[in-house]
């Protein structure tokens, strides 16, 4: 390994393991990929340990480290955020408790709703009021008293969100300045900076979450930045929920934009992988221990959503969560993972999840005290969880425990053989996940048959062929290092920023000059963000988007207006584009309805480095394994299923039924399916339903 080589390092911190992927920055070639234990009490330590482990073999001087982090999410979920105050317009400070006034579940007397992150005593009404057009109704007053109250309350973070501040930031800016001057150590977020869009609950909630997790993320980023700097790492970038990368400075200012950092990185890897293989349309299927997630890549780009509810599901129950307005990769999630528990309801109907055995005690077959049957136990019973393949990870698979748990909870009450119960558990889990993939595709008018499905996560490869078959995907691909996709994805992103302004005007009343002026202001805002990025000096023209709807409607569609610097399309052409988008989404146009411009959005992307392909070199040592492994069929017969490993390419297809060991994960190939192992280490599965 040459000492001059500069490295590109991707690191993803999970609950149990921290994954590291090391690439050659110039060629994009894989240098190494490894896992080490996470350090939950101090997550930065595992990242530093990973860097030190890399540094033992190669120089990390001048390297770039890209990092997907769950620090923000965990701070929120574990309620370990800062003592946060809310400054709101007088008379409206309960906005975060009143929410949208709807309860998350309909029937039942036990109504539980996510507790506001700012308690009663720390919600302060401020004398001020703006009208919907931004004009002043009541001037801002009492700043000194407000600051005194904050000081007395001993807060660590302050969220500022005034009514109608999307139309004018003047009052928020004035109070922000007063707070910053008086309390320089307090973390301050104002809504007109982080989310200048109308709808006060959504905007305030976003602002509050940012303030609440802000200091923790700031400390984490600062600590890592220091440690990495001491190791002569040149650049340190963080993955945002929109899949883009950002500098530590921007990450610390807008931590709420990092809340889906880890899953976003996996989708970015999927998109990059798809582009490299010439597969622009992909369904991403990521299954871990407690949940499975699906997303969609179209035309090489992941589908995005404008908002997200964090910490919504607690033990499988919807508590409403915390809404965050922020561009986020649009993922559908279900409580179906390897650790999901199988159970019978009172009518004797088999259910799987959403309760999970988690990492502790884990599935019964792990022998750590888990007594309830899980999806993983079903695999242990059937034989698709091959004990010898797990030896390296230190986990010992005890099939007898799995048999006992499934027998007691499922097979015996139903009067079934244990193998039938095991298959039923997997069938239900697969059905739940197929439903999730349908939510991610057909509900957006997409046909899964036009897509290849790409599986990642620890449990993804085991179920991918079955889920793919169920939804009718064209083919299923299990890429190299499926369990480390988030770490890989972290290295493949681009810097991405978005800024938005609400206009709320009839489209026909907008002029070319209005568009020029509004986008010029957005450009100023995005320039500030880009200036904090290492590559922010020269960048490609940002994309301009107008979000529009019919007057009277409340949901918008995004109309692209071309890159910055080009002429705007004529207003009439923008309207035509909107109408054709609407017709393709909902099946009809409304010729008599007028079109309203709602938001203008500017999106800037800076590719990081020069990699466009994923040329993962193969570094797996061949696995020492028997040629076959016992596999129970649905009818209870035992066969000796061929056991292959994917450490070397194989153009001659493997026919199902078969098990393929694949860089730490297991691929289950069913009867009638065929798979080849590509030169880049991907397992490519042709499904039964697919045309030959």
């Amino acid at each position: 390994m040459s000492a001059a080589r500069r490295l590109l390092i991707g690191i993803d911190v999970g609950g149990t393991f921290t994954d590291a992927v090391v690439l050659d920055a110039a060629s994009g070639e894989l240098v190494e990929a490894f896992k080490l234990p996470s350090s939950p009490s101090d997550p930065a330590q595992a990242v530093i340990n990973a860097i030190d482990a890399i540094a033992k073999k190669a120089s990390v001087a001048g390297a770039t480290v890209c990092h997907g982090t769950t620090v923000g999410t965990n701070t929120l979920i574990e309620r370990k955020g800062s003592r946060t105050a809310l400054l709101a317009t007088q008379g409206f400070a309960d906005v975060i408790a009143l929410r949208r006034q709807a309860r998350p579940s309909l029937y039942g007397f036990d109504v539980r709703i996510s507790e506001p992150l700012v308690p009663d005593a720390l919600r302060f009404g401020v004398a001020e009021r703006l009208a919907a057009d931004g004009s002043v109704v009541t001037p801002l007053s009492g700043q000194d008293a407000t600051v005194d109250a904050l000081r007395r309350a001993g807060v660590e973070a302050v969220a500022i969100s005034f009514l109608n501040s999307y139309a004018s930031a003047a009052h928020e800016e004035a109070i922000e300045q007063a707070v910053r001057e008086a309390l320089p150590d307090v973390f301050v977020t104002r809504s007109s900076d982080i989310c200048p869009e109308f709808r006060e609950y959504e905007r305030t909630s976003t602002t509050v979450v940012n303030a609440y997790i802000g200091p923790a993320v700031q400390r984490y980023v600062a600590r890592l930045g220091e440690a990495l700097g001491a190791r002569a790492i040149e650049r340190f970038m963080v993955v945002k929920s929109n899949g883009g990368l950002t500098s530590p400075e921007n990450a610390a200012r807008y931590p709420v934009h990092l809340i889906e950092s880890g899953p976003a990185a996996a989708i970015i890897a999927t998109a990059a992988y798809g582009r490299a293989r010439g597969l622009p349309n992909l369904i991403t299927f990521d299954m871990g221990g407690t949940t499975a997630k699906a997303g969609v890549v179209r035309g090489g780009e992941p589908i995005m959503a404008a908002e997200f509810y964090a910490d919504r599901l607690v033990e499988g129950k919807d508590l409403g969560g915390y809404v965050i307005r922020s561009a986020v990769l649009d993922l559908v999630e279900v409580g179906a993972g390897g650790g999901s528990i199988a159970w019978l309801d009172e009518a004797g109907v088999l259910k799987v999840g959403p309760v999970s055995a988690g990492a502790d005690p884990g599935p019964a077959c792990y022998g750590r005290g888990g007594a309830r049957p899980t999806v993983t136990d079903a695999h242990a019973v059937i034989g698709t969880l091959v004990p010898s393949l797990f030896a390296a990870s230190g986990v010992r698979i005890d099939r007898a425990q799995a048999v006992a748990a499934i027998t007691q909870d499922i097979a015996e009450p139903l009067g079934w053989p244990v193998v039938r119960a095991a298959y039923a558990i997997i069938d239900i889990a697969v059905a739940n996940m197929a439903q999730m993939v349908r939510l991610a595709t057909v509900q957006r008018g997409l046909d899964p048959r036009d897509f290849a499905m790409l599986a990642s996560g620890g449990a993804g490869p085991l179920h991918a062929a079955a889920v793919g078959e169920e939804i009718g995907a064209r083919e299923v691909i299990v890429p190299p290092y499926p369990g480390m996709f988030s770490a890989l994805g972290a290295t493949l992103g681009a810097v991405r920023h978005e800024v938005t302004a609400t206009v709320l005007r009839p489209l026909s009343g907008l002029t070319d000059a209005d568009l020029h002026e509004s986008f010029a202001r957005l450009q100023e805002r995005i320039d500030v963000l880009l200036a904090a990025e290492p590559e922010g000096k020269e960048h490609p023209a940002p994309e301009r988007i107008l979000e529009a709807r019919f007057v009277g409607q409340m949901f918008e569609l995004a109309v692209p207006l071309g890159p910055g610097g080009t002429a705007f399309p004529p207003i009439a052409e923008i309207e035509t584009r909107f109408r054709s988008l609407y017709a393709s989404e909902y099946g009809f146009d409304l010729p008599n309805a007028r079109v309203q411009a709602v938001n203008l959005r500017l999106v800037a992307r800076l590719p990081l480095g020069g990699r466009s392909t994923l040329a993962a070199e193969r570094h797996d040592a061949p696995i020492d394994h028997p040629a076959t492994t016992p596999l129970l069929l649905r009818d209870g017969r035992e066969i000796a299923a061929p056991l292959h490993d994917a450490s070397s390419a194989r153009t001659e297809p493997v026919a199902g039924r078969a098990i393929i060991a694949h860089s730490g994960a297991t691929v289950w190939l069913h009867e009638g399916q065929r798979a080849v192992i590509d030169a880049d280490g991907s397992v490519v599965i042709t499904l039964k339903g697919a045309a030959a």
Partner: protein
């Protein structure tokens, strides 16, 4: 599959679970399409609509996580539609609309559209959406005001075959639109309902293609049996009881000192559950009379919640509840008595009466009284900024009752409704009002080992002359009850402060009021009751 001697699921249980959950998912998708294409903030932002999937005989086999008062009334809607158009006469692309509260509707603004779904020649089921139109005519903008007979409440639509072979009948549609305010927006809302039905049809056909129409039809039957069995199991686990309770409603807004009594006798024996409303007062002249469909919805809601709240709701559950209510009473309205406030107000009070009765037998299982209301206010007029006519309809949350396990939620919608508020910023951008406050009134919560939820104060000023305002609230006179020694919640208050300085206390149901620039309305909803004796 056989459990405890009951054969419920004859086919593969995995297929059962998959198809069953798909029926519910279709309802959710249908709702999302309607919200996205509708023209009313009440739909797109407040989600005041519900969707259901019916089998070929019209029984509910799936429903959305929507509005309990809409959903429980669906069996009545189906009976009315079939009464007018026999099941065998429906053809692909037909659609029946109705809103008649005495004949399958709930109140006039809730407009239902039922469409059949065929797979080839075979009728496999129906989709049904019930959508709250912000206006259906009548004496006041928003069609939710106070008057003394149904014809003044708005346009009453008995079952009409408004869509035939996929074509909406322009004559019928134009007739309806000629009788409502802001007809172009209502036309958009109707288009949204059709878009929702089309999506449901597409999805049910896909399901039939994937699993076979026979399998889907079987699962539809079994899913009712499944839910019924679960409800019966859980009822069986409760001790038997016969309990009674009565309360008086706040006034009806028409006649002074009218406070009709709602009385119930609940009998829980074995796996049966019966609610007998004998002894409830006759219909009154104001709009608080509940159609039987609304009263039944309140009973269904209470039964589903008492049995855990997690049983998939469908007609199998509704079949368990036996309801009797005297004809021409406040819990079984007949023409021409007005009904509009029963949907939002009386229905919630009926739930509280049922809960107070149940608390006598099962205090650990039921919450204390709630704010007993949806607290509806409506505004109508012309926006001087644009010259455009507007109609505004919004509900206001209040205090929920505490339970043996937890405090009550504050400022949330409870029981029979679950519509969202409208963002203050969206409303101020759309119509000439300015809000003065929207906050929790902490002292309104009933005390207790667990305190009740608190009500909220929502106040606004109008910025134009000639704005028409109406209010439908509850519990200005009768506080929410506590359970097991918990205290009552505070009562609601509604006040109009004129720009002239005059202050008028408004009755729970009042309007239409003419408001001019600078006039203010202040609404404070009631608090919920507490549970258990407060600590000394």
């Amino acid at each position: 599959m056989t459990i405890g001697g009951d054969t419920i699921i004859t086919r593969d249980p995995v297929t059962f679970e998959v198809v069953r959950s798909a029926l519910y998912a279709i309802c959710a998708e249908m709702k999302s399409v309607i919200m996205r294409t509708s023209f009313s903030p009440l739909l797109s932002l407040s989600a005041d609509l519900s969707c259901a999937m019916l089998d070929a005989k019209g029984a509910v086999v799936g429903q959305g996580n929507d509005i309990p008062v809409h959903l429980g009334a669906v069996p009545f809607t189906v009976r009315a539609a079939f009464g007018a158009f026999a099941p065998e006469t429906w053809r692909p692309g037909d659609g029946v609309v109705l809103n008649d509260p005495y004949l399958g509707g709930t109140h006039l603004p809730d407009v239902s559209l039922m469409m059949p779904i065929f797979v080839g020649e075979r009728l496999l089921g129906f989709s049904l959406s019930r959508v709250h139109w912000p206006d259906v005519g009548g004496i006041a903008a928003g069609s939710s005001s106070v008057c003394d007979e149904i014809v003044k409440e708005g346009l009453r639509i008995p079952p009409l075959k408004i869509i035939e072979g996929g074509q909406a009948r322009a004559d019928l549609l134009n007739f309806i639109l000629a009788n409502v305010r802001v007809p172009e927006d209502r036309h958009g809302d109707f288009r949204a309902q059709i878009a929702g039905a089309n999506r449901a049809e597409l999805r049910l056909r896909e399901l039939a293609t994937r699993y076979g129409a026979d399998v889907v039809a079987d699962v539809m039957t079994q899913t009712r049996a499944y839910s019924r069995l679960l409800v019966e199991r859980r009822l069986q686990a409760l001790p038997d009881a016969v309990v009674e309770h009565e309360e008086r409603l706040d006034g009806d807004g028409v006649d002074a000192d009218v406070a009709p009594r709602v009385r119930v006798r609940l009998t829980k024996k074995g796996a049966t559950f019966a609610a007998d409303f004998t002894g409830s007062d006759p219909c009154v002249n104001g709009p608080i009379n509940a159609p039987l469909a609304v009263t039944a919805s309140a009973v269904y809601y209470t039964l589903l919640s008492l049995t855990g709240g997690d049983i998939p709701p469908n007609e199998g559950v509704y079949d368990v509840a036996k309801i009797s209510a005297p004809e021409a009473s406040v819990v079984n309205a007949v023409a021409p008595y007005p009904v509009v406030a029963a949907n939002t107000e009386t229905s919630n009070r009926i739930v509280d009466v049922l809960l107070a009765a149940l608390a006598k037998a099962y205090p650990e299982q039921v919450p204390a009284g709630s704010y007993g209301s949806a607290c509806v206010y409506t505004l109508g007029g012309t926006d001087p900024r644009s010259g455009r006519r507007f109609v505004h309809y919004e509900t206001v949350g209040g205090g929920a009752g505490a339970t043996a396990h937890a405090v009550g939620a504050s400022g949330m919608r409870t029981h029979m409704g679950n519509t969202m508020n409208l963002p203050v910023e969206a409303t101020e951008a759309a119509i000439p009002v300015r809000f003065l406050g929207y906050e929790i009134v902490r002292e309104s919560a009933g005390v207790g080992r667990h305190r009740g939820g608190a009500g909220v104060r929502k106040a606004f000023e109008v910025l134009a002359d000639g704005v028409e305002a109406s209010l439908l609230g509850e519990r200005t006179l009768s506080p929410a009850h506590g359970v097991a020694g918990g205290g009552q919640g505070a009562c609601a208050t509604f006040i109009c402060r004129r720009a002239s300085g005059e202050v008028v206390t408004l009755a729970a149901k009042s309007g239409p009021h003419k408001l001019n620039r600078g006039d203010r309305i202040e609404m404070v909803t009631a608090g919920g009751g507490g549970w258990g004796k407060p600590k000394a």
